[in-house]
Symmetry: C2
Amino acid sequence: MNLKELALSLGLSQTTVSRALNGYPEVSEATRTRVRQAAEQHNYRPNTRAKALATGRSLTIGHVIPVSTKHEMVNPVFADFIAGAAEVYADNGYDITLSMVRDADEAAAYRTLAAKGAVDGIIVHAPRTDDPRIALLSELNLPFVVHGRASDVTLPYSWLDVNNRRGFQRATEFLVDLGHHRIGLINGLEHLDFAIRRRQGYLAGLSARGLDVDPVLMTQGEMTESYGRSAARAQLDLADPPTAFIASSIIVAIGARRAVEERGLTLGRDVSIIAHDDDLSYFRNDETVPLFTALRSSVREAGRRAADMLLAQVAHPAVAPQRELMEVDLMVGRSTGPAPLSAARRQG
Amino acid sequence: MNLKELALSLGLSQTTVSRALNGYPEVSEATRTRVRQAAEQHNYRPNTRAKALATGRSLTIGHVIPVSTKHEMVNPVFADFIAGAAEVYADNGYDITLSMVRDADEAAAYRTLAAKGAVDGIIVHAPRTDDPRIALLSELNLPFVVHGRASDVTLPYSWLDVNNRRGFQRATEFLVDLGHHRIGLINGLEHLDFAIRRRQGYLAGLSARGLDVDPVLMTQGEMTESYGRSAARAQLDLADPPTAFIASSIIVAIGARRAVEERGLTLGRDVSIIAHDDDLSYFRNDETVPLFTALRSSVREAGRRAADMLLAQVAHPAVAPQRELMEVDLMVGRSTGPAPLSAARRQG
DNA sequence: ACCAAAACTCAAAGCGCTTTGAATGATACG
DNA sequence: CGTATCATTCAAAGCGCTTTGAGTTTTGGT
């Protein structure tokens, strides 16, 4: 059933039917309800493609997934973010399309996306420090919101980020105040902006407490469970091992915890761990006393807000770029405790 | 830049330019290359919406995510499946759209999807035993492939599934053969077909080895880490606790392992665990000797194959429904061992 | 009863593409 | 040199919708 047929069956013109359905005022309430009922009854839905062509808006938001060797798509953080965003899209009648893009043809892919006219806006994931996508998208004149920031980009653009720097500084100071002097950072990949900011926060925390930096205590990698384990393992094997870790995600922390226990050490006593906790649906760290002491910030909520920002921008492209910085909460759980005496003593 | 403008700039008709770009034979090689170059130079991409309208094909596949209280979207299994499927789509020029659908308006949502004409085909996730979606989609005449099966549906339809029943039977027998007599099943939600099949396999395994079923050793829930922990905990608290668990996913197994260790028990000695391992990118269980003894079956590969099936069906809607059953491998890792003597003795 | 204003309704154009059916130009053959 | 054949190219219709600009009917004031 299409508009034409529906109009015919009602003895009305397409114009009137279209207007009735889309809530235009120049149609009488009587006909409007008549049309609505008929549409309902025939299960009529306007064809998306035709509507998009006629209106110039596709009611679709694109999420571009970088596909290098690493598959960002399967990052659970990403999944939760999209789930949050999708709630907002659904409430506003928007669909969501995923594009997998290889790093190599990234620029071309974004150009294509814009030229094809398949989306009204884009969410940019996993920005790098000087991410060229931002300039590109600005030039293409396609509304976009960055999840995270690109520190070196000076152009104005909309972003939503977590205060990673402050959070990691706080976590570091918290551990130092517990007596830890050797604190390992198990970070995400440091070509990504968020990881750099986290490292900065960590360094700032050490510096604020007058501690030196030891490069061997800083690790970066893709945030899988087994990376968490192997990174923690390697650091625990050092001659002068850390007594605490800061892990860039709950999943990494789970891996680190495994390494700790494989060494026969007890979490929260022999070794402390603070995790950045994105409040992932499948990895809730929310028991009465949480397992992990954590910097909590819901990535799902971030997805919702980013989507809100983007839709606002799609509706009013002229307004200035928005920014939003979400603060993190430090939740004390069972994975942290005072530095073991031996270590404290050794440090003098 | 659109077709009309491009054609104008070349002094050709839209027809010729369109044909040149789409590889039709009735255009000379000379003009074809000329057109190609001009298109390249002007960064021309045909407008998706217009093309879709004209051809009647949207070059888009829909994945419908059930959103009840539980958000299937954020299930890491789901994410990996989509990642696999997306590879295939990308290679074939297809895009992928996600629809979040509340259980309540499920039927309406599928009808809408079909009527809107936004997708050429659909992948159905998380089928229930007598899933009404299958009849609905057949009636709507929209190509679809089910990831999993709906045991009670008699209509022919395309599906791709893992041999859950056989896998779980095998795992159960493996544990019994190690001397375990009380084996806990930590299953997924049993309104889903795969979970029912897994339970059937578990029961068949017990029965094949002449063991009785104890209902308190069978748990179901959404497959999160904390569910794994609490389910294992509860079973370990029983007067006659299990000496082994079969966990429906690696994530659940991680939770179960946590429960085991919180009890001061040693994995693989005091308590054994076998996990169903979907080979998730962020939870690789692939060390030289894997942590978990596991039934392995790559869900990413499943995604690829399901996408292949679906695209084949979109291309040739007439052919009979396809089915594919993937077998699982039992990989022996460090999480299983002989039943502890005390338990074995107690059983006589 | 008359006319301006308001309330409805409509035909037709247009969104950017594909595709049909026809026209043109070039080539070959008798 | 005329005609049949093939190779190119094109104008125009159509995909299903929105929207413009115009037409028709009602309403209300005088």
